[in-house]
């Protein structure tokens, strides 16, 4: 299999708003692909389209060689939403086990490994309600890993967490990628993007540019990614007007 994610001419319109406006994209196995763009650029919509939570207006999505929407594929994908969506009255372990079970896979050894990875082993019996924001975010990540997915879709996983935890998260992502998991991570923080293998700049539902961080900088003749993004955005606006 040469691509894990294949998106063709994807459109999602909400009335006159084109949340996703003709996106083509493919992601290779073991890659960390970063979707980078400001709030409202269509990152969340794109991820929800990928996983079949939204139906596209037109275009197609293929995950792990299966045309979406397809419920069976979801047993091999992990999804982490922006808000740490967890059952507050359950313990950390109960939450993780629940989502693993929903995907039809309970592997206690793996769950222990996940708890180890996100450093929650000693809090596994705590009720989620009693956890701090950062710990909840880690639990949330653990839930999306619970069934050993081959593809992880993470929607702004590092939003609202401190820089130290953010660094820890990125080291988890790298570990996962090196074990063969493919990751799509959305973010609006430019310095995070450096850590992705490949990046897609998103703005107003369109993919402005694609490539590794250094490629994008070179292409835009910019020193930083932020600058590169702005140049691409300006170029796109001019192109749009012309």
């Amino acid at each position: 299999m040469d691509t894990v994610v294949e998106i063709r001419e994807l459109h999602k319109h909400f009335g006159v708003i084109r949340a996703v406006d003709g996106i083509n994209l493919s992601v290779k196995p073991g890659e960390i692909y970063g979707l980078l763009g400001p709030n409202g650029s269509g990152k969340t919509t794109l991820i929800r389209l990928l996983i079949g939570l939204l139906e596209p207006t037109s275009g197609s999505v293929t995950l792990l060689a299966q045309a979406m929407p397809d419920k069976a594929v979801l047993a091999q994908t992990g999804y982490m939403t922006q808000a740490s969506a967890l059952y507050e009255d359950l313990t950390v372990r109960e939450n993780i086990t629940f989502f693993a079970e929903m995907c039809g896979r309970i592997d206690r050894a793996w769950i222990d490994e996940v708890l180890e990875l996100v450093e929650l082993k000693d809090r596994s019996r705590s009720l989620v309600r009693t956890l701090s924001g950062g710990l909840k975010q880690r639990t949330s990540l653990a839930c999306s890993l619970a069934h050993k997915p081959r593809l992880l879709l993470l929607d702004e996983p590092t939003v609202g967490i401190d820089p130290q935890l953010r660094a820890t998260f990125w080291s988890y992502f790298r570990q996962l990628a090196s074990s063969g998991v493919t990751l799509i991570v959305s973010s609006h923080v430019m310095d995070e993007a450096e850590r992705c293998d490949r990046l897609g700049f998103m703005r107003l539902g369109k993919l402005l540019a694609e490539g590794s961080a250094s490629e994008l900088r070179d292409q835009a003749n910019a020193r930083t990614l932020e600058e590169a993004f702005l140049r691409f955005a300006v170029g796109n606006m001019e192109g749009g007007e012309g």
Binding site: L53, K71, A72, T77, A83, A85, Y87, E88, M102
Partner: protein, 389 residues
């Protein structure tokens, strides 16, 4: 204390309430809806009661006055009034007609009705009542007594006297009417609580489970776990069924507690099988869970869930044949009664508890309840699709 802060706070609260159009609408429409329903039901004219009459009275020939047929006199009086719709029956049919509901009471005048009167100077009316609705039984007894008194009073007015019979000095007191009531179902030992118990149970079983399901499903949505759940292979129908089973267990425990408490602690009289009662209430609880899941799709927050009480629960109680028999409601309200799940539970529970009926008689109501549950399950799953997309 700053009055300015208080006012600013009040302003903010008002602004928020006004933004929630449904709440504003409900604040105004809710009370009107519930009040109108109540007014219509309380004011509805008492229905004409179909009353059977078995008249075998041979009459009595009295010197001077001639032939007196007391039975016929009372029948004439009953027919003349607008309280009853009199149907003449053969005495073999009495129980059958009461059972199938074509008459709600039957008066039997035996052959010696008139002569007994002459002997005792007392009218003894043999009244048979269906008995499963205490309010109606009371109405029938009261109206029959009243009508009989009236026809006897007319006899007094003609200074009708029977030679050789004991003379009484005080006119009306000499002509008492005694109504001896025989109940087809239940009976005299049943008090009002016994009659109300079945519907009480139904309301409780439906109400709490409905709220529980509605709020927990809503919470799943507002905390974002629903989105996460839908990103797993779990299908919508699986989620609804899972909820039904999970909450259903608590519903069943609740049902068991309700039954235990009403039967053994409150010592409610009941006739039919306890197992069957449990089954009916359990079915209603399943309906409650799924109604809650469906309703949660239309609520944004817990506050809006509470608003379903005047919209969904109170009309159920008023229209579902709980306190007013559906047949006695205004015609235009009757179709709504048949839409209320609680109506079918009420029917079945009354049939079991008051009439002692079994599965053979009540299965149609149970099938309808199960059908409603099925429709709600599918509707709940379909609504989930809409809300997530």
């Amino acid at each position: 204390m700053s009055s300015r802060r208080v006012l600013t706070l009040a302003q903010r609260v008002m602004r928020q309430v006004l933004r929630d159009r449904r709440t504003v609408g409900l604040l105004i429409i809710g009370p009107m809806l519930v009040l109108s329903l109540g007014a219509v039901l309380f004011r509805s004219e008492p229905a004409v009661i179909p009353l059977g009459v078995v008249n075998e009275d041979q009459g009595l020939t009295v010197p001077i006055v001639g032939s007196i047929e007391l039975g016929q006199r009372i029948v004439d009086e009953l027919t003349a009034g607008d309280a009853f719709n009199v149907v003449f029956l053969d005495h073999h049919d009495v129980d059958a007609r009461l059972r199938d509901g074509t008459v709600q009471g039957v008066i039997v005048f035996p052959e010696d009705f008139s002569s007994k009167f002459q002997e005792n100077r007392q009218v003894v009316i043999d009244l048979h009542i269906e008995g499963s609705n205490p309010t109606r039984s009371m109405t029938i007894i009261a109206r029959v007594t009243e009508t009989s008194m009236k026809s006897l009073a007319e006899l007094v007015g003609t200074s009708f006297a029977i030679p050789g019979s004991p003379q009484t000095s005080e006119g009306e007191a000499a002509l008492p009417v005694v109504v001896q009531t025989t109940y087809l179902y239940a009976g005299e030992e049943f008090d009002t609580m016994d009659f109300v118990a079945p519907v009480y149970i139904a309301i409780l079983a439906l109400f709490f489970v409905f709220l529980l399901a509605c709020v927990s499903f809503l919470r799943e949505r507002s905390l974002g776990t629903m989105e996460r759940l839908l990103a797993t292979p779990a299908t919508r129908i699986e989620i609804v069924l899972g909820y039904m089973l999970g909450l259903g267990l608590f519903a069943l425990i609740q049902v068991a507690v309700i039954l235990f408490y009403t039967v053994w602690v409150l010592e409610i009289h009941y006739l039919g099988s306890l197992g069957l009662l449990f089954l009916v209430i359990a079915l209603l609880a399943v309906v409650g869970v799924n109604l809650g899941i469906l309703a949660s799709a239309f609520a944004r927050n817990e506050f809006q869930v509470v608003q379903f009480i005047p919209l969904l629960i109170i009309p159920q109680i008023l229209l579902g044949g709980t306190f007013w028999a559906v047949s006695e409601m205004p015609k235009y309200l009757q179709p709504f009664a048949y839409l209320m799940p609680i109506y079918y539970a009420n029917q079945a529970l009354r049939d079991v508890m008051l009439k002692g009926w079994g599965l053979v008689e009540i299965w149609p109501n149970m099938v309808i309840l199960a059908g409603i549950a099925g429709v709600l399950i599918v509707a709940g799953a379909l609504m989930m699709r809409r809300e997530v997309a």
